[in-house]
Symmetry: C2
Subunit: 250 residues, 2 copies
């Protein structure tokens, strides 16, 4: 009836907030963008049952680019766009807000937990002590970057922890944590020096019921059972006593 | 009936998740810790009405230290501890989890949006491009630190944005953004060089209905209407085109 785009985050735990559910119930049309963050099919079904709305899964091209579906719809109806995690963690969604404002369409954002805050919390590490985030990309022929390791080195030098995200490749899918750890060690070899601390944290399926958090020696983690994708890694910098205590209890 | 501590975040927008509400409804006793993050009285009342539970406001000493109230209660009953923002952003709550685990008490954490993720999002800036977070403390006689500015300088040097938190003092209360900006400029004077970019973002009452976000020249911000506390500031580093576009639309 009125044009509005509400961007509703589902958090790392697929746990909508009360305001998010209100907007989902009230909207004319509901979409879920599962490209930037996976959202389990099962959780979409639960939301459909609770809200009485049909939720259509859409792609990135429906959100940004030339006259995307979401913007077209929002010119005449109120649109609720659901997404995993924190909605504004993805460039795609910020770009959508910019386009909506230019088109005179109202916007509301319902924030939720993000891998950026939850990964820190789950590791018992202080958020304000995290440096710049790093993404480990797949190595290819003539493309073997060591920049992630160099950034980790910089963070450690400043006493900071590092959140390490895993690459998502159209063909290869989500990078496995063991491959990620292996690549970090290859980067050490290439650079010819030791950068990584003895122990790191691997987080598997953060927020899912089968979430798994492992803290240990890299050499043991790559041999052990780390759970399933999606993964992220936290490389601790200088540890305070309580941070260490929390990690050792994991 | 069973011993469990559930730590439920209320997010920056005071918007509980469905799982959080479930735990609040099911618990034997409900507390709200409003020391580490303010939670409006009105929102507590709304939660009491919706859940049918009485929610008692408690202090930091009830959560950590020598035999705190929450831990004592949780030895016999299930306790739901509500707090603003993301529960594990506060050291107090991580310390509580450590103590609970040592005492053999089960724990569940319901994550929610945090100033760390929402401030970035609200500014349209990419989270992974943030460097270490900085807190500006009140200057006192013989205590005029410039370390926050030096960290901002380091972040900018690495192309990174900086989240600047405002000090909370027992006597002086929450620092005002204008004082915070003034102190950052005094630090520049003391260090004898220009570090800050021309324009910064000031976020007032993030997540409240009267939230206010201002982007502009520091000289104009300190003269203008910025809203009420709590405040935080974002000092942008290198801006991508879309980030700049979003900021200019604020």
């Amino acid at each position: 009836m009125w044009n509005l785009i509400s961007l509703v985050g589902l958090g790392v735990g697929y746990d909508i907030t009360e305001r998010g559910m209100e907007l989902l119930r009230e909207c004319d049309v509901a979409f879920c963008e599962r490209h930037t963050m996976p959202v389990p099919e099962e959780y979409i079904k639960t939301l459909e049952e609770k809200s009485g709305k049909r939720i259509e899964t859409i792609g990135r091209e429906d959100v940004e680019g030339e006259d995307p579906l979401v913007l077209k719809e929002a010119k005449e109806r109120s649109v609720c766009l659901l997404c995993g995690g924190e909605p504004l963690a993805a460039t795609t969604h910020i770009s959508l807000l910019v386009d909506a404002r230019k088109a005179g369409i109202g916007t509301e954002v319902v924030h939720n937990s993000s891998v950026f805050s939850a990964a820190a919390g789950k590791s018992g590490l202080q958020q304000y002590k995290f440096g710049k985030t790093v993404t480990v990309s797949f190595w290819r022929k003539n493309y073997e970057p060591t920049s992630p390791l160099l950034l980790i080195e910089k963070n450690i030098g400043g006493g900071m922890h590092t959140l390490v995200l895993m690459d998502l490749d159209a063909e290869l899918g989500l990078m496995d944590a063991k491959l990620g750890l292996g690549l970090l060690r290859k980067m050490e070899e290439k650079e010819g020096r030791k950068v990584l601390p003895e122990k790191v944290v691997v987080l598997s399926r953060l927020g899912y019921p089968d979430e798994k958090i492992s803290y240990g020696k890299i050499s043991e983690l790559v041999e052990g059972e780390l759970g399933e994708a999606p993964f992220c890694i936290v490389v601790p910098g200088e540890l305070h006593e309580m941070e260490r205590e929390y990690l050792e209890l994991l």
